[in-house]
């Protein structure tokens, strides 16, 4: 006699969702860069330097940063409001651990969903998880900017390394936040 069994899952990560990404500005000039930092290691130093680099090179109108209350949770509601009310483009991260990388990607995708171009910065060792999260939310091809070894995934860097990482990723951040030229 055959045995009929029931599926124990909620369908993996390809659940048929589709997310429409926010339209990109032509350049970052005059834009306000939001930084949704998760406080991992000293990654905040990297983000601060990244903001300074873009302010100087691209003519940002301003930078607004929030540091979330824990590495793998959404921002507090008032932090979310600060970003949504002020920022016109956003960078999130640092996605260097399993839960914080995926949550940082979710932060970026939630911002895309309300029309704010965003990008997540993380470590390449977390790409499988982050890509799975993006598929779950309906953006399977959503780019993530990654840093690799020799830099430790969890943001345990020197200040010089943090600044160096910002300098390495700045062009990619710009490319992800503006419309293709």
């Amino acid at each position: 006699m055959t045995v009929l069994t029931l599926d124990p899952t909620t369908g993996g990560v390809d659940v048929g969702a589709h997310l429409t990404l926010a339209p990109r500005p032509r350049s970052l000039e005059g834009q306000v860069l939001g930084i949704v930092a998760n406080g991992l290691g000293i990654s905040e130093v990297m983000f601060d330097h990244l903001g300074e680099l873009l302010r100087e090179s691209d003519g940002l109108a301003g930078v607004v940063k929030v540091v979330k209350p824990s590495v793998a949770v959404p921002p507090w509601p008032e932090q979310w409001a600060e970003i949504v009310d002020n920022a016109t483009v956003v960078v999130t991260g640092f996605g260097g651990c399993g839960s914080c990388s995926t949550r940082s990607m979710r932060d970026a995708l939630d911002l895309e969903a309300i029309g704010i171009p965003s990008v997540c910065v993380g470590h390449d060792q977390l790409l499988p998880a982050v890509q799975a999260l993006a598929r779950l939310v309906g953006a399977p091809d959503y780019p993530m900017i990654t840093v690799g070894y020799p830099h430790n995934p969890t943001g345990v860097w020197t200040k010089e390394e943090a600044a160096g990482i910002a300098e390495r990723v700045v062009q990619q951040v710009r490319a992800c936040l503006v419309a293709p030229q």
């Binding site: 055959t2 009929l4 124990p8 899952t9 969702a17 209350p69 651990c97 839960s99 998880a129 999260l133």
Partner: protein
């Protein structure tokens, strides 16, 4: 919709030639924790659901970061797979609800590199009704209720909450506690107030307390009197420390499982759980002095949970240090 339809599971189905083929098929589909599962037939799942009185589509909670909604039906399917008897299911439901409370931080505690596990601590009459081991060897193999209730939670975490290694489960090592970690409090050992009564429940209410576990620390201490034993507790706890997490806030807590040889020393000298926590609190929270002497960020002595468990012999207790979450608890409600 008829009543029968409302109580009928609606999950997609897979047909196999026999139970062995189903077991192998579930391995191939990636539905297991690496060990064989009981094939979840509709009849087995319906029997599980019946003990809870819940409709299949009843929502037990969500993991918002992953767009996951956990229903009674999916929980029952995984409880069958874990090997639970139907009468365990109300306890499984309470366990899953506790896990899905927002402050249990389900996404963080299951995706983390740290590989946190989840301790399921059971209080109240249900321990005797379904034979939950609370004493000798309670943390290990050999007890169906302990093993399968803990396993049911882990299968829900894997299958329903999408926590699969190499995908959303990013544990660098993971660890054996992630197969199953469930036991009861030995309430009958002494006149100590059981944990659930300390939390505000009636003694006759059965309750699940869920604590994420980053570190499980054995404290072997042969001092013959309470203060000497507690010195061993706080000195070892301070080797690990516990940092402040703004999101978890003032509710973050730690759990000490007090072994029999320790608890009889405390009880003989008239120490209550509250006195133990009061004695430990200033020692645990005193300023950090070095790399191997780190303080624990705890808001009050009430954040130090004392649970009696384990058997006679070695004079040891255990400390459960949390991941980025707070202990949560849920009443067990049967149909």
């Amino acid at each position: 919709m008829t009543v029968a339809e409302e109580s009928t599971p609606s999950s997609p189905t897979y047909e196999y030639d026999d139970d062995v083929a189903a077991i192998e098929g579930f391995f191939e589909r990636g539905f297991t924790d690496g060990m064989p599962v009981i094939p979840p037939t509709p009849a087995r799942v319906e029997a599980m659901l019946a003990t809870s009185g819940l409709a299949p589509d009843a929502v037990l909670g969500e993991v918002p970061t992953r767009n996951v909604v956990v229903t009674a039906e999916k929980t029952a399917i995984n409880a069958v797979m874990a090997g639970c008897r139907p009468e365990y299911f109300p306890t499984v439901v309470a366990t899953v609800r506790a896990f899905l409370q927002p402050k249990a931080n389900a996404h963080s505690t299951t995706a983390t590199l740290a590989g946190a596990a989840h301790a399921v601590i059971i209080n109240g009459p249900v321990r005797k009704e379904i034979d939950v081991e609370c004493g000798q060897a309670c943390m290990g193999p050999g007890f169906r209720a302990n093993a399968t209730i803990g396993r049911a939670l882990r299968l829900v975490i894997r299958n329903v909450c999408k926590t699969v290694p190499h995908v959303l489960d990013r544990a660098s090592w993971s660890w054996p506690l992630r197969y199953s970690f469930c036991f009861g409090e030995d309430e009958e050992r002494s006149d100590w107030t059981p944990l659930h009564v300390q939390l505000g429940y009636e003694r006759e209410q059965s309750v699940v307390t869920l604590q994420s576990v980053m570190n499980l620390v054995q404290i072997t201490e042969f001092a013959p009197e309470p203060k000497g034993i507690l010195e061993g507790f706080w000195q070892l706890a301070r080797v690990y420390g516990l940092g402040r997490d703004e999101w978890a806030g003032d509710d973050r807590g730690i759990v000490f499982l007090i072994g029999l040889e320790h608890s009889r020393r405390f009880v003989d000298d008239g120490w209550t759980k509250e006195q133990i926590a009061d004695e430990l609190y200033p020692k645990l929270t005193a300023e950090t002095t070095g790399r191997l002497d780190k303080n624990l960020s705890l808001a009050s002595p009430k954040n130090i949970h004392i649970v009696a468990a384990g058997g006679p012999g070695i004079a040891s207790s255990w400390l459960l240090l949390p991941h980025l979450s707070v202990p949560t608890h849920e009443a067990i409600v049967a149909a």
